[in-house]
């Protein structure tokens, strides 16, 4: 069974993504059949076309981009720290991105230019990454890594609360900030699709690093002895995973547990080789976020971040129990 799963995992994941994409386009206040989706995409059905091209297609694409980015980022962090519990959310990198975005909104910079918000998210995420790398070195124990994440999340939470507590903020800015904290795909448009597009480039740059990441997950010394340029590899991994997390946070706010749950499931299915784990986690991450968004939508508009946390939280506790 396991061999069959391993050999067919890519097909299963790709099939799951196609189904989730079609469901994402078809399900909503105005349900669309496959025929109407087809006609709407080709602008042969005016009503369906407006719903699809103005609402559902950009929302679906943003979900795919952030799901792929967060899952890939989780794989990279797990290889970097040699720990399957490492993920952008638990380590505080997502919170760093959100804090950067919140500062940009709170200070009014986000209104000046569309690109200031993602830029600040990247700055926040990089600051958090550097802090967590300093607090929990490579190969750190699970306890140390999680405690570093707890400390960083608390610190960044304080930054966010400080901005929120500024009584001079307008109602509109406060509402925007709460959006980042809850994480969601409501009202995402083509600008957001464009903003997150660099994750595709990051994913493409990540793919060739798969073999080196296998070796680094054995430990830096071993990887070096086998011919890996560890310093260069680590820099590339940190830069790519941080940019991907930051862009995902910039367009959809804090969406937790994707980077933890998705790589873990696929590692159990296909094994730890990154050449296969990276692409399949990218596909699986996109599918997971689309599915969580659909669950939220079908339950009366529950925010994406709440759904991923509701599914990911118990999964994380199960992982901890399994490890102990």
């Amino acid at each position: 069974m396991k061999t069959w799963l391993r050999d067919h995992a890519m097909w299963i994941a790709s099939g799951g993504l196609v189904v989730a994409m079609l469901a994402s386009l078809g399900i909503g206040d105005m349900p669309l059949s496959l025929d109407r989706i087809w006609a709407g995409l080709w602008k042969e059905d005016e009503m369906a076309s407006i719903v699809l091209w103005q609402i559902r297609v950009p929302r679906m694409l943003v979900a795919i981009e952030i799901g792929a980015a967060l899952a890939a980022s989780g794989v990279v962090m797990q290889a970097y720290f040699r720990n399957s519990l490492a993920s952008p959310g638990l380590l505080g990198v997502s919170s760093g991105g959100a804090a950067g975005a919140v500062i940009a909104i709170g200070a009014g910079w986000a209104a000046v230019s569309f690109y200031i918000l993602p830029f600040m998210a990247i700055v926040g995420a990089f600051s958090a990454t550097l802090a967590v790398v300093g607090l929990a070195r490579q190969g750190a124990s699970t306890e140390r890594l999680l405690l570093a994440g707890v400390a960083l999340n608390a610190l960044l939470g304080a930054v966010t609360s400080y901005v929120l507590s500024d009584f001079t903020l307008s109602y509109e800015r406060n509402a925007q900030i709460i959006f980042w904290l809850l994480g969601g795909l409501e009202d995402r448009n083509w600008d957001h699709v464009l903003m997150a597009t660099p994750v595709v480039l990051c994913a493409a740059l990540l793919w060739p690093l798969g073999r080196s990441m296998d070796l680094l997950s054995l430990g830096a010394t071993e990887a070096q002895s086998l011919g890996v340029n560890v310093r260069v590899l680590r820099r590339k991994m940190l830069a790519l995973s941080t940019v991907m997390t930051a862009l995902a946070t910039a367009v959809a706010g804090t969406v937790g547990f994707v980077g933890l749950v998705v790589p873990h499931i696929f590692r159990l299915m296909i094994g730890p080789e990154h050449k296969r784990l990276v692409p399949i986690s990218i596909i699986g991450g996109a599918t997971f976020v689309l599915a969580c968004d659909l669950i939220g939508r079908s339950m009366g508009g529950i925010r994406l971040g709440i759904v991923t946390a509701a599914l990911g939280g118990p999964f994380f506790l199960w992982m901890l129990r399994r490890r102990s």
Partner: protein, 237 residues
């Protein structure tokens, strides 16, 4: 030709300005009490720990060898490895060919040589300490590097596999490789070409085992009295 040359290498508190030359194609044992600097010396020689001074592999200065080339020129075996993820044994051996463009050469031969055929598809993090160690030695064999640096390769092994590792080291030597291994079993040291004796980070002696491992030196370095008597001898069938 000199297989390994260390000139004035130091690591604070562990190695004191040490110089060593090992001829290529030799099987050399590194011995000394716990904390004498054996693992540190091997790490410095492998280029994994900065030790100042100069390190040369087969006449090439280590600073001038690019990272990928290092993976082809030296094989380092740590005392133990904690595998965080469940790579199969075969995959771990394949890592030994990373610097050769992942061509997969020599993997089946190494699996057979280290009695790992039946474990080839098992996750390495589910193996015993001794089995994991055989995997690390098989991976070193797969690299086909001219210089081998093994840190206590015999420590966790049963008698049969310890003999197999010694036979492997001997075969590597006969095909021109240099093998340097740290040891605790002094009886094994007598089968090697040369021994290097370390004590508190200093080089105490270098030479043929029968010349170097005198009762006086063993008493001074290890604090043990040595009696040469006949004892149990094990051989592979």
């Amino acid at each position: 030709m000199i297989g390994l040359k260390l000139e004035d290498v130091s690591v604070a508190g562990r190695l004191n300005s040490l110089n060593l030359e090992v001829e290529a194609g030799k099987l050399v044992g590194l011995i000394g009490p716990n904390g004498s600097g054996k693992s540190t010396l091997l790490s410095v020689a492998a280029g994994l720990l900065p030790g100042g001074g100069t390190v040369e592999w087969n006449g090439d200065n280590l600073d001038e060898i690019d990272p990928l080339e290092r993976g082809r020129k030296a094989a380092w075996v740590p005392q133990d490895a904690l595998f965080s993820f469940g790579f199969s044994v075969r995959s771990v051996l394949a890592h030994g060919r990373f610097a050769h463009g992942d061509d997969g050469r020599g993997i089946d031969e190494a699996l057979e040589r280290m009695d790992l055929i039946s474990l080839a598809d098992r996750p390495v993090n589910e193996l015993s300490g001794g089995e994991r160690h055989r995997v690390l030695l098989a991976r070193a064999m797969v690299t086909n590097a001219p210089l081998h640096l093994w840190d206590e390769p015999l420590g966790p092994l049963d008698p049969r596999h310890a003999l197999k590792v010694l036979a492997l080291a001997d075969d590597l030597k006969r095909s021109g490789h240099t093998v340097i291994m740290s040891l605790h079993d002094l009886r094994v040291a007598y089968y090697l070409d040369e021994v290097v004796v370390l004590s508190q980070g200093d080089l105490k002696a270098v030479g043929r085992p029968h010349d170097v491992l005198t009762p006086e030196l063993l008493l001074e370095v290890f604090g043990v009295k040595a009696d040469f008597v006949s004892s149990l001898i094990l051989k592979l069938p």
